[in-house]
Symmetry: C2
Subunit: 396 residues, 2 copies
């Protein structure tokens, strides 16, 4: 993406190398708004929350913010009393360099858990970080928050409200420890739309529910998951009516959806992106549970890697999920190829055709339970040798 395409009126962004990442490379990102913004946030539901998550959860309650400061290389999680103190120090350094109130700065961290964050590195890097702020700097920020990611994740939507055009631009990181629940790894969204913080929060929660909360890489939920949205109002539109809010919500969902797909596509070691859809469940809760169980099964995910339409493993996963089901009613499709009909194989030819579809980098598995009206879906990836390599070697 051309860096000009992610310019959003009222915002600048930038990144520098602060020496936090062991491997080197940019690891400190700043997004700055030239005026107070409506602010909304969604955070991890993990009971163990990183220090910057706790600080940002407190600050988001104000409904306004001016900046997001994020580092990679260190999650600042499980660091005891030193955690919030380091987070606050980093925020204070940014506030003083930007000439704003520390309470207007939201914080996020990602990286190793349990190692103390050295705030002095962030303090020392602050002058050059503020100097690096540019209106087209969002791609630099997207690169600086990467850890095991293999590509930066950015998505832009252009909308219009009463003759005023506006943009929604989002960046995200995440490749492992991905099964967000009410949140994701790190995702920052900026928009020049004029919107109340209440409506922004509502739109963010809704968009997150159908995007980041429906993906999984490995079934593990991070301690640092954070989605933050800032809206500067520089687009100059009037207060949004219901139709305007709907357009904005659609746009925001499109941006988060694209970013969520990128996170799964970039899942640690992943070679396949797989849409798991459950239909015909007796309740919404059961549809979600079934989709989550299939999407997280190690056996199903290794079969995806092996391009093997091993529907027995899918049925076994459904069976252990505890949902109501009658195995003799279940249909299973891979893309448009039905491989199981009423609980039985459609035969070798159908399975071969299904295996053919699984050679593609992206495909869908659709299960119809045929006992109710509810459906849900999850986006997952395969479990590969490289996932094991990445995670056996991550710290050592």
């Amino acid at each position: 993406m051309d860096s000009n395409q992610c310019v959003v009126k009222g915002f600048s962004a930038g990144a520098v190398e602060a020496g936090i990442k062991k491997k080197g490379g940019t690891d400190l990102a700043l997004i700055f708004a030239d005026r107070p913004c409506a602010a909304a946030g969604v955070f991890t539901t993990n009971r163990v929350k990183a220090a910057p998550v706790l600080v940002s959860m407190e600050r988001i309650g104000r409904g306004t913010a001016r900046a997001v400061l994020a580092n990679s290389g260190n999650a600042n999680a499980c660091t005891g009393a030193s955690g919030p103190s380091a987070a606050r120090k980093a925020g204070e350094a940014a506030a003083s360099a930007l000439g704003i109130d520390p309470e207007e700065i939201l914080l996020a961290s990602t990286g190793v858990i349990g190692a103390p964050l050295d705030a002095s590195r962030i303090e020392q890097a602050m002058p050059s970080l503020v100097g690096a702020l540019r209106s087209d700097g969002l791609m630099d920020a997207a690169r600086a928050i990467m850890t095991t990611d293999s590509f930066p994740k950015i998505s832009v939507f252009e909308g219009e409200s009463g003759g005023h055009s506006y943009r929604i631009a989002g960046i995200a990181k995440g490749a492992g420890m991905i099964m967000p629940q009410m949140a994701t790894m790190l995702c920052f969204v900026i928009s020049d739309i004029h919107i109340s913080s209440r409506n922004l929060q509502k739109a963010l929660v809704e968009a997150t529910g159908s995007t980041f909360n429906r993906i999984t890489v490995d079934g593990d939920t991070s301690t640092n998951d954070t989605v933050i949205a800032l809206a500067s109002g520089a687009a100059g539109n009037a207060d949004l009516d219901r139709a305007g809010l709907e357009v904005f919500g659609t746009g925001l969902t499109a941006v988060l959806n694209e970013l969520a797909r990128m996170v799964v596509k970039d899942g640690e070691g992943a070679t396949k992106t797989v849409h798991v859809e459950i239909r015909g469940a007796v309740s919404a809760e059961q549809a979600e549970r079934a989709a989550r169980t299939v999407a997280n099964s190690s056996l199903v995910k290794t079969a995806f890697y092996g391009q093997d339409p091993n529907w027995g493993r899918i049925l076994a996963a459904l069976g252990r999920s505890g949902i109501d089901m009658n195995p003799d009613l279940v249909d299973i499709r891979i893309d448009s190829v039905e491989i199981v009909s009423r609980g039985m194989t459609r035969g070798e030819e159908a399975e071969a055709a299904g295996a053919e579809r699984m050679k593609n980098p992206e495909f869908s598995v659709v299960v119809d339970l045929h006992i109710g009206p509810f459906s849900d879906r999850m986006l997952t990836c395969d479990l590969t040798h490289d996932y094991v390599s990445i995670n056996a070697d991550y710290r050592t």
Copy 2:
């Protein structure tokens, strides 16, 4: 183990190659008692149950049985109406060859899900199978039920009741799709003790709860899990009193525990056997949930493989399990080395000492939540490159 050590009075066993396994090798096993036995069984809680499980669940209600017929290479699961019919045909062939009632035969299958079982191969193999029965044939049966297992699993306990010595011998198979819930893959236990089927069932359920129901390889629960116990009474002991039942229960638990450990040790691709223990939880349910979540986390299991005392992943798994906890109270030990105290690292030296313990093929991870009196434990293994290889290639 010497095959003489697994001779149990009143029983014979044997195995042949019936041509069910694609790769060849023995794949059909028979255990036969020379008189009706007290019989007990525990079966998978997966809603999708294989045909032989359904048949055996029905027959075990009689409380007596004479034989167990088990095949590997085909799970006879998700095979529609042909499934129970093939299972019954196989049982009838064995009953007629042995001169007993088909209802006295318990059935079990393991292998590929979804492929119809060709009962005629079992029928054809029956004369040679019955001819292969030997009093010291249990090891042959243990070998014939292997699929991805790399070694046969057998365990023997010797007990005594009122001057009558007796034996409990068990065989098991299982390496993948292992997170039994109220059951395991396949496990057959024979004993010459005299015991009522009611007491046998009670002892079996209790012993299973603390052994097979506390192991996991990959979090997937099979459609075919079956534990069957047969007691011939040939030891000649009088009815067991409470103390006698307790000794038998201890012996049975010891046999199942050793078999369960073998299943984890032989976990697909596993290089480490890890005891995960949770202490100080507010309820038994939460202790179990926490132990299960840590033991099934892909990130924790790859860290085991990498011999990395990555306690951040353990805390993150605890956090997402939804249990009550205060991260600042948590202690974590690897064997006797405390690496986390009150939610914080004990420092690099302690972590290095923990990493040293993780080089052993077996070690324990003990988490103390310090907020309640309840504890539980799970036995798990690491997640390795070979797990991925085995399961990406299993059918193809």
